[in-house]
């Protein structure tokens, strides 16, 4: 198992995340897809650290920060979702077009 295999994995996960963000109608699904993209990035960080600088754990440490921030982000995101839902009684993105031209 080489770095390339792991990078391919993270690329696939990131693409699934992107695909989710672009295609989900439900805003909760979009938030989940964003989590996938974070984790793809975390996989990258850990993999590069393991294969290129095996002596230290900077990548792992950095990914811990990312996980923490993702948790905070999820809190803000979910509270926004709640606020939106209270206003438009919907969590579907096609209804959230107040800024349309």
């Amino acid at each position: 198992m080489t770095l390339y295999h792991i990078l391919a994995l993270s690329g696939v996960v990131f693409s699934i995340g992107i695909f989710g963000v672009l295609t989900r109608r439900n805003i909760l699904g979009i938030l989940m897809s964003i989590e996938l993209m974070f984790n793809a990035a975390n996989i990258n960080l850990v993999a590069f650290n393991h294969y290129l600088h095996p002596g230290n754990v900077w990548g792992q440490g950095f990914s811990l920060f990312v996980i923490t921030l993702a948790a905070a982000e999820a809190v803000v995101g979910l509270s926004l979702v709640l606020a939106i839902y209270r206003n438009i009684k919907s969590v579907f993105t096609e209804n959230m077009n107040l800024l349309h031209g």
Partner: protein, 643 residues
């Protein structure tokens, strides 16, 4: 004293300005100020003359100040006191003072009383400025201002068309003469580079100017005299000038301003000294005028017109005197004439004031109603006619003596003929106005003697008319005053005096015979000499000739030009231009509306349409944006890898 001689003209100037601007708040509308100002000038002039007589004032006495400089040529204003100017100062200030005094009474009821006195003072200023001038430029400026005052005062009662027209006529006619004068001045300056009388005389004497040029300049200057002194053929304005108030006629159009032309001729004498042929022309113009005007005076019905033509005739005498080398005689006659002609006019004014008409046929027997006026008028008439012992006698004798003495026998005959007619028409006027039967009862009974402000000047002038001749001849004073190197003193000529006097007396007797004793009815006489009568009566048709020769062609030309102006310039030019502009602006407006506005609107519409198209991109759906970002990223990524 002489150092302050410049004050003589300045007093009346100050008076004129003060009256004009502040007169309405002053007692008597400021008229007393004018009288006082000219009185001050008179006192100064008399004392200067006195100083001359007792020898403390040496003539010529000259004061000069720089006026302005044009390039290298300085122009000056100055005062020149010599014989002619001293005697003219006396004449102008005395007559001016008496006339202003007289006007206090005569103009009492005029609605423009203040303005009248302002003008009179202004006239006196300019006339005095002219008299004391030491150079031609100052002389010319004052000369024109004098003409302006004359215009203003002739047209003083401008409500009447006749007065307004007469003012215009006087102004335009004299300007015609001034044109020559002006050309003369330009020549003088071009040749000698100075206007100063003394320097010009020096230039003339040292032979740097050819006699022919001197004659041309002299005759050009004489044109000014012809205009201002109403010599034939520019005499036509003076009779019409009688439309002005009578004091104005006395002061300006009899005693002083018209004499300015003679004074000018005297000032220009050095030119004629070089070219005696020029003097022949001058003499003949004067002689013809003297007789010509007298013939018209014979048949005129208007008392002021009679005096006006008489003035022209006497001015002709003065010019003739200068023309026959009677330098002193001309100015002598000017002086005495000023006294008795001012007197005659003022007395005539007194008569008109009493009977409210100028027509001598509506008067008659007025001696019963106005004694002072009658006596003074008779004295003036006698002096004018040349009755021995009075002022006019001496001066006229001197003129005719000069003509006789210089072998101008034809002119001498003309002069005697003029003297005869002068006596005749004055006798006619005296008889018809003051003697005989009253022909208009109503006017006669209403006539009364004028107030003392009017009679006192009459008495003073009458006294002067009696003594002026004798006084000026005393000890050869006039010849001393009028010294002109190169001219011999006028000799008394026994035969000339006898002929002249007897022709005058003949005129008086004939006048008595026709108009008082009625040896023959005037009407019969008119019928017998019908052609001459018609000619004289219509003033030799000069006005009609001028009308046909000059006025009507000019008016017609003016009409043509005016119709060209209206029909061609206005209609085709101005109106056409207007129409073209209107059409063009309509076209321009259409272009503006259609193309320019269309372009502007089109731009707006295009932008708005493009905006409408562009807004559809902005869906407000974040996923769409993100899709485009991602697609762009993918596209760039692929693109990047290829290159």
């Amino acid at each position: 004293m002489a150092d302050y001689a410049y004050l003589i003209p300045l007093f009346p100037l100050a008076g004129a300005i003060l009256i004009f601007f502040f007169g309405r708040w002053l007692p008597w509308k400021g008229s007393l100020l004018g009288v006082a100002a000219v009185f001050a000038s008179m006192v100064m002039s008399i004392s200067l003359f006195h100083q001359y007589l007792n020898g403390t004032l040496k003539v010529p006495f000259e004061l000069s100040w720089s006026w302005f400089a044009a390039g290298i040529y300085p122009f000056e204003v100055g005062v020149l006191l010599d014989g002619p100017s001293l005697i003219l100062l006396l004449v102008v200030t005395v007559v001016s003072f008496l006339v202003q005094f007289y006007s206090l009474g005569y103009m009492r009821d005029s609605p423009r009383f203040k303005r009248f006195f302002s003008y009179l003072s202004f006239f006196t200023f300019s006339m005095l400025g002219l008299v004391v001038a030491n150079n031609y430029l100052q002389f010319f400026v004052c000369w024109e201002v004098v003409g302006l005052c004359s215009y203003l005062l002739i047209g003083f009662e401008f409500e009447r068309d006749a007065a307004a027209g007469a003012g215009n006529k006087a102004f335009l006619t004299t300007k015609l003469g001034d044109l020559g004068f002006y050309a003369g001045l330009l020549l003088i300056f071009a040749v000698m580079g100075t206007f100063n009388f003394g320097q010009i005389t020096t230039h003339l004497q040292d032979g740097s100017v050819s006699p022919r040029l001197a004659m041309i300049i002299g005759l050009l200057i004489f044109c000014g005299t012809i205009g201002k002194s109403a010599q034939f053929p520019l005499h036509v304005w003076l009779p019409d000038a009688m439309e002005g108030p009578t004091p104005v006629s006395a002061l300006i159009h009899a005693a002083t301003m018209v004499a300015a032309g003679v004074y000018l001729l005297a000032r220009a004498y050095p030119f004629f000294m070089l070219a005696p042929e020029g003097l022949e022309i001058v003499a003949w113009v004067g002689g013809i005028t003297a007789v010509f005007a007298a013939t018209i005076a014979l048949t005129s019905d208007d008392i002021k017109k009679i005096l006006a033509y008489s003035t022209i005739s006497q001015l002709g005498y003065m010019v003739m005197a200068l023309g026959v080398s009677g330098y002193g005689a001309g100015l002598f006659h000017l002086t005495t004439h000023a006294a008795f002609k001012a007197l005659l006019f003022l007395a005539a004014g007194s008569v008109i004031h009493a009977v409210h008409t100028n027509d001598i046929w509506k008067m008659g027997s007025l001696s019963k109603q106005m004694v002072t006026t009658t006596i003074t008028f008779f004295i003036g008439a006698a002096a004018l006619a040349g009755v021995p012992g009075l002022a006019g006698f001496y001066s006229k004798e001197m003129i005719l003596g000069a003509a006789y003495g210089t072998q101008h026998h034809a002119l001498f005959a003309l002069g005697c003929l003029g003297a005869f007619m002068t006596a005749l028409y004055m006798m006619r006027a005296c008889s018809l106005v003051f003697l005989g039967e009253p022909r208009d009862r109503e006017r006669f009974t209403h006539a009364h003697e004028s107030p003392w402000t009017m009679t006192i000047p009459l008495m003073i002038l009458a006294a002067l008319s009696v003594v002026a001749g004798k006084l000026l001849l005393h000890n050869g004073l006039i010849n001393r005053l009028m010294e002109m190197p190169g001219i011999s003193e006028t000799r008394e000529s026994g035969i000339a005096a006898v002929i002249a006097t007897s022709s005058a007396l003949l005129g008086i007797i004939l006048g008595y015979g026709i108009y008082l004793a009625r040896w023959i009815e005037p009407k019969t006489l008119a019928a017998v000499f019908r052609p001459a009568y018609v000619l004289f009566r219509n003033k030799w048709f000069i006005d009609e000739i001028y009308w046909a020769l000059f006025v009507r062609p000019i008016m017609r030309l003016a009409d043509k030009i005016a119709s060209f102006d209206y029909d061609v310039l206005d209609q085709i030019g101005v109106d056409g231009f207007g129409a073209a502009t209107e059409w063009f602006s309509k076209l321009d407006g259409w272009i503006d509306d259609t193309f320019v506005d269309g372009f502007v609107d089109g731009t707006g519409r295009f932008v708005s349409r493009m905006g409408a198209m562009a807004r559809t991109i902005q869906t407000g759906l974040v996923q769409n944006y993100l899709l485009i970002i991602t697609a762009g990223f993918v596209f760039l990524a692929i693109f990047w890898n290829i290159f």
